[in-house]
Every structure is written in C-alpha cells, then in structure tokens.
Symmetry: C2
Subunit: 346 residues, 2 copies
Amino acid sequence: MAAEPTVPQAPATAREWHLAARPRGWPVPADFALVEAPVRTPGPGEVLVRNTRLSVDPYMRGRMNDVKSYIPPFRLGEAMDGGAVGYVVASGDEGFAPGDAVLHGLGWREYATVPAKHAVKVPRIEGVPLSAYLGVLGMPGLTAYAGLLAVGALKEGDRVFVSGAAGAVGSIVGQIARLKGASLVVGSAGSAEKVARLTGEYGFDAAFNYKDGPVGEQLAKAAPEGIDLYFDNVGGEHLEAAISALGVHGRAVLCGAIAQYNDTSAAPGPRNLAMAIGKRLRLEGVLVGDHDALRPQFLAEVGGWLKDGKLRFEETVVDGFENTPQAFLDLLRGGNTGKMVVRLDG
Amino acid sequence: MAAEPTVPQAPATAREWHLAARPRGWPVPADFALVEAPVRTPGPGEVLVRNTRLSVDPYMRGRMNDVKSYIPPFRLGEAMDGGAVGYVVASGDEGFAPGDAVLHGLGWREYATVPAKHAVKVPRIEGVPLSAYLGVLGMPGLTAYAGLLAVGALKEGDRVFVSGAAGAVGSIVGQIARLKGASLVVGSAGSAEKVARLTGEYGFDAAFNYKDGPVGEQLAKAAPEGIDLYFDNVGGEHLEAAISALGVHGRAVLCGAIAQYNDTSAAPGPRNLAMAIGKRLRLEGVLVGDHDALRPQFLAEVGGWLKDGKLRFEETVVDGFENTPQAFLDLLRGGNTGKMVVRLDG
C-alpha cells in the first residue's frame, strides 16, 4: 500500500537559490537571488525532503555558462540544483517513509520535492556523518576512486602526483593511492596549512604550496625521479609540469581545471604536449557519471576504509542556507579543505 | 659453417652523411657533411650491406637536437642512421648470404656494416618494391596500424580524421580506417594536389587543404557531426580543432607534431584541452617500438591488402645519395606524397 502523501513538518514556503545572471569571469553575489517559493506536496512517485546539507562543487561553475556540455546549464531565474542530503518529511512513494535519510540532486533549496527514482536511501555508517554522501562516499569520492583506478589504471609501485590535493577529490585520491600501494604520493595545494595537512593528516609523502614557486621546480624536488600517474584537478601550469615529470607510459587523469574555470578567454594549453608522443603518455578525462557500475565496489571498499579508520576525510562547513553562494565563491578560491558543504539545520 | 667474410663487390671507401651542426629551428644544408669513409669488412656476426634505398622521416628532426628522448640524439661528426634497405654483399653470419634483401637501421650511408641481429631478411611480394619495407610494410605502416588499432581502438562505424594524410603514415591510416569499417574518413594535407589524391587515390570521403582556411572550420564542414577518432601527425592548430570536433569518449592518437618540430620556442598547447574532461577524451602517444608484437599480424594483414590491390601506397623518390639531406629538408616542408625515399642505385 502506498503511503498517503502528507507534509507533517513542512512549511508552506521555503527558500531556494536562483541563478540571477550568468557570471562573466569570477561569479559575484549579485549573480544569485534568494527566492521564497511554495513547498510542493509530493505527488505519487515523489518524496519531499528537508535538506540538511548542501553540496557546492567546482563543476557548478561550468553550469553557470550557457554552453553545451555534458550536463545542461543552470537556467536563469530558476532554482539551481546540486547534491544534497536530508530527511524525507512526506512520501508519495512506497519505497520511502518519513525520516528516511536520502541523497538526491535538488540542492540549493531548503525543501525539495524529488522524484523517488532520483532519490537514494543511504545506509548510515557509525561515526560517519550523513554529509559524507556528498563527499567521500558520494560524487567526489567515486570520482577519485574511478579516476585513479579505472581511468588512471593505478598500479602498485606507481609514483602519483595529485593537484588540488586538499580538496574533496584530491584528498581522497592521495589516500586511495597510498592504500593501493603507490610508492610515492605527492600533492599540491594553495596554502601552508593545507600542505601541512597533506603530509600530516592524509599521509602524503610530500606536498608543496603551488604559490611558493614554479610548479615544475617544486614537483621535481618532491619527485626527483619523476611520476607515473598525475591526477589533475587544476589544469594550467600544473598539467604542463606533470607532463614533463611523467615517465614513459605515464597517465594523466583529467578531472578538473579549476585554475581556468573563471577565465574569460581560453588559456594556452600545455606547451609540452608533444612530449606525449615520445613518452607514450595517456591523458584521459574522467566524469563520475560513466562509472556507476563501480559504485557498489566503491561503497564497500571506501566504506570499509572509513570504518577501519584507514581513510580520513574532512569537511569545510559553512553555516546557514543564506550563505550557499558565498560557500561556492569561497570554494572557487580554495577556501575549503576537503569537502565544502553548507549546513542548514544549525 | 659460417661463411667466410668476403667483400666481393664493395669498394674500399664509400660515402656517408654526418651531422655537422645541430640545427636551430629549420635545418639547413650546412648542418650536414658528406664524408668518404672506409668500408669495413664484416666481422663474425656482421653483414655488409649495399644500401639501395634510404628512408628520411620526420622523427629524425628530433634526433638532431641534443635532448634526452626515447631515442638517443645523432652524434655530431658521426654518420647518422635511419631506415635503409639493400642487399648483402658479404656476410660474417650464417643466417645471411650475399644477395639477400635486408632491412636495417644504418641508413645515411652507401654501404653499412650491420650487426646481423639488427638486420632483417625481408620476403619480396610480387609487384611491391623492396622499399615498401621503409614505408607501408615498415615503420610508417606499423605506426599507422598500431596507432589506429591498438592505441586508437578503432571501432566499426567510427568517424576518423587524419592530419598529414598524404604522408607515409597518414595515407595508410586513412586507408586502414576505411578497410576496417570507419563510417567517415577525413584527411588534411598541404596542397590541392595532395587533397585530390586523398579523395581520388586513397578513398577518403573528404579532404581539405589546411592552408585554405582555419582547420576547425574546414573540419566542421567535412565532418559536420563531429569525429570519434583523430590521428595526429601534425599537432598545433590541427590538434586543437580535433579536440573540439571529438565526441564523447573520442580518442586522439598522438603520433607526430611536424608543425612544431622546427620551433625554437615551445608553441602553446591546445587552448581547449579542458574539453577532454567533459567529453572524456583520451589522448595517447604512439611509438612504433612498443608494438613489435603486432608485426606478424600487421605484415599478414597489410601484405594481403597490398597483394589484393586494396591498399595503395606511394613514394616520393629522390635520386642520388648526395641529395639525402635535401630529401629530408623537403620532407619537413611537405614536399612528399607518401613515403619519402632516396634511391642510391640510379
């Protein structure tokens, strides 16, 4: 018997963030508009979710541009979307009941009426917050896992370099590389504090602040005999340095290019790309959506590491729904360590 | 019983080309020196070969620079090397007898004393000249075959774009793509005559002269729905245009970057490389040396196509050993159609 749709705890209206204008270059607060909208009672096959944590992610910057891509752009004057976790408050689908913890894709709002088929009930792991499903157990975690193992074909003994290594994806990449037998794990980040965390908390062998000097020189010091695998979250100078450092049959996993997301004209690509011929490098893009088949294996393996305390993750938590755009802007400037999330329930 | 080393038809001295100076930018004739040197009687395990055809290839430009690469640089003041075919005139190895047709790596000279283990006796195919082993049945042919099939993972129905398509590698790539079921084969070349040959002789569906206008625009006309596989012999603007044209999960085989070989400063890489993320492109370098295991299959399949008249190849023949450097310089400027060879025996 399907549950009767009811809205026990939901208010009549709630807030959501709209894209008010398409940013040129770096986004600014005026590109976003806070809107009060009716909370819609779920129809059959829908659930109403009270969001408790929202995800802000670098890929969202691309969706603010009106260009064809792997994912449609945000529409002007409508609520944006993105990863979110929360609790079902009313269900029109027999698979869900009030109180269920769910992960879904209608973030940037306080309450979301979600098609049940697009909501996932998530098991709780002791000591692991629900928001982990936005990070280490969610999209960034699977991106790291699939990028490193399926696309990058990590082998035991590989020397691995990760850029954006203190971020939600990078911090997991480095740790998985270590757990899977990499012989050297090097990371770059944008502050001394992050660099200390890479070698301290996350067990990287070496790390450097890319703002301290040329990436190529710093990488050569950290990995004097070169690298076998580069996980790129950054693009630009980092990618060029990695291409020089990669050895024969080296692999570069192209996951992000945050250094370029706010460029208004196209930045030159790596000047040394022709090295890929002589060294038979492989550069390959990764998108998490291609790797759903890996999810059960990923949840089992990464969930196990979390339970056993072998894998650490961090969150940078911004409090208050009204601060969601600011959290996103901070993320683009590297204001986070680990996963950037917005906390809605105080 | 090993044959007695004898030198029945060899002169006491013969000519060889030395690298006299390392070119800066485009090579010039003064970078090469013609030297008369003794012809050395083969010792045990060696054969003396009278070269009849010499190969000049774009990769040789890289060997003129004093930089670490997949193959050591040419040494100043010594005979250069490269692919050559000819006939054994004296043998110190029981596996070879005078008159044997061989392929070996000591080109740029009239007579070569070659370690027997570095010489290959080659079977003659009716109607196919010995020099085919420098081209369609040799290094360029195997490069095309392995690059397209092993690295590029060509699938039936793929839309394929080849740059430098009238060259020794490119002309074979396009034809193999067609024979293996590509649904569209597009090539670029640097003259109207070459373009006509691509669609006429070689059966490309479309071709354009890259000097006639922006590569991206011409490619979009030739392949309005995009491409699945790009075989890059050129680099530069071609690679950037191909990255834009490639569809999801497209592949770029990086084989050459002749547009950049004579640059004295590093040219910017493709400005759109970050598209590789969203489209999950794979860019991968190919070097023929990695693919020796494919050689028997390659010789059988390509040899069969040649016998059956299904695959065409051309040579641009430059007459006279003294013109070897000029043949090489012409090659760098696109003066060849198909394989560029130097004929020594008139």
